[in-house]
């Protein structure tokens, strides 16, 4: 298995080089462990969270059992790009929209785990925007509900934000048992420019 990483031509950030065994790759205080099966590589947060601009969640690659290690590495390199992206000076400040999202989800779903990441920096919006988010919500209230029903619950809690500034909301809605199997906040695909038609 070989690692496939490449920087997209229009991006200026460096891709974090990765190898299948990720020896000693560290960013802030993250530590790497390899799962027993050897084919998954998971990043577990250390005591101090890595705070991307405006975000509160640790950047972790997708680590679903169904995906091979290669895709994990690709997504991780994307996550690095997204979190170290161009745009605002990363001060770790949580904006009002992010705070509201967190509060409302906590009230509505009483989650065991709530990981929220402002991904606006990876999209065609000005620095400091709060328009694109990714959230992982772990709640026993999702038991027995289809993915569609779960997402609708999340939408209902955030109807004001979604009718307002939030253009994109990527959702992982898991029960506690499901989360245990795979406790990772996924990464989002790269922006393709949105409504800016000038993109070539």
């Amino acid at each position: 298995m070989h690692a496939r990483t490449h920087a997209r031509p229009q991006e200026t950030e460096t891709t974090v080089p990765v190898s299948p065994h990720l020896p000693g790759l560290s960013r802030s205080e993250d530590s790497i462990s390899q799962s027993a099966s050897g084919r998954e590589i998971c990043i577990h947060p250390a005591s101090q969270e890595f705070r991307p601009r405006g975000g509160t969640a640790v950047a972790k690659p997708e680590c679903e059992p169904m995906l091979s290690g290669q895709l994990v590495l690709r997504l991780f390199s994307m996550a690095s790009r997204i979190c170290m992206s161009r745009g605002s000076a990363g001060s770790g400040v949580i904006g009002p929209v992010e705070a509201a999202i967190r509060t409302k989800l906590e009230q509505a779903l009483n989650p065991e785990v709530l990981e929220l990441r402002n991904e606006s920096g990876g999209h065609a919006v000005p620095p400091g925007s709060e328009t694109h988010f990714r959230v992982a919500v772990v709640s026993s209230r999702f038991e027995g509900l289809s993915p569609l029903q779960r997402h609708r619950l999340v939408h209902a809690a955030l109807s004001e934000e979604l009718a307002g500034p939030v253009h994109a909301l990527a959702i992982q809605a898991r029960t506690p048992a499901q989360w245990k199997e795979n406790p990772q906040l996924d990464t989002s695909p790269p922006c393709l420019g949105g409504s800016k038609k000038s993109r070539n």
Partner: protein, 181 residues
């Protein structure tokens, strides 16, 4: 069974699921249908649209040139499964269809914002009761957005749903090849 299909899906995913441009790659592109003019956002019109084809998606951009990473993800997943004949509606072509948010932002062009503020017809977001694009309909029924489609792809549900529609997923053939080796 689903395990081996899962591995095949994963292998296909690594090979093909590039979060990049949706290039046809030699396959005939999907039928991209314009949403049509006049009353494009009305409930009856949308009802007809989502029922006209087995697989209907609402995207930002087109399958050949997606303008949103999440929309592109939907295109790529359908491509992986070999679904070539589907209706893709570009909400960027039709602000009423899209129901652009009333919050002005620099991402929107101002014309679109003005239009949406003035006439927030029933667009696809109201019709589906879903606040974001992309949106996926299978057999006239709303399935979800990019996250849900990805989940269905990963757990094998999408293959089953396509089978119910009489569409044989390309991944089944790949899995067969894998197993026979």
């Amino acid at each position: 069974m689903s395990g081996s299909l899962g591995r095949a899906a994963a292998a296909a995913a690594t090979a093909l699921l590039r979060w990049g441009r949706g290039v046809g790659g030699g396959l005939r592109g999907p039928g991209v249908r314009a949403a049509g003019s006049g009353g494009s956002g009305s409930s009856e019109h949308l009802d007809a649209l989502v029922k006209k084809d087995k697989v209907v998606v609402f995207l930002k951009g087109t399958p050949e040139q997606p303008q949103c990473g999440f929309s592109n993800a939907v295109v790529q997943i359908l491509r992986l499964h070999g679904v070539r004949d589907y209706a893709a509606y570009n909400v960027l072509d039709d602000p009423q269809l899209r129901q652009a948010p009333s919050w002005p932002s620099s991402e929107q062009n101002h014309q679109m914002v003005a239009l949406s503020q003035e006439a927030r017809h029933l667009g696809i977001k109201d019709y589906s009761n879903w606040p974001t694009i992309p949106q996926v309909y299978l057999n006239g029924e709303f399935v979800g957005g990019c996250d849900i489609l990805l989940q269905m792809h990963q757990n094998g549900d999408l293959v089953e749903e396509l089978k119910k529609l009489g569409i044989r997923s390309a991944l089944l053939d790949e899995a067969k090849d894998q197993d026979s080796k």
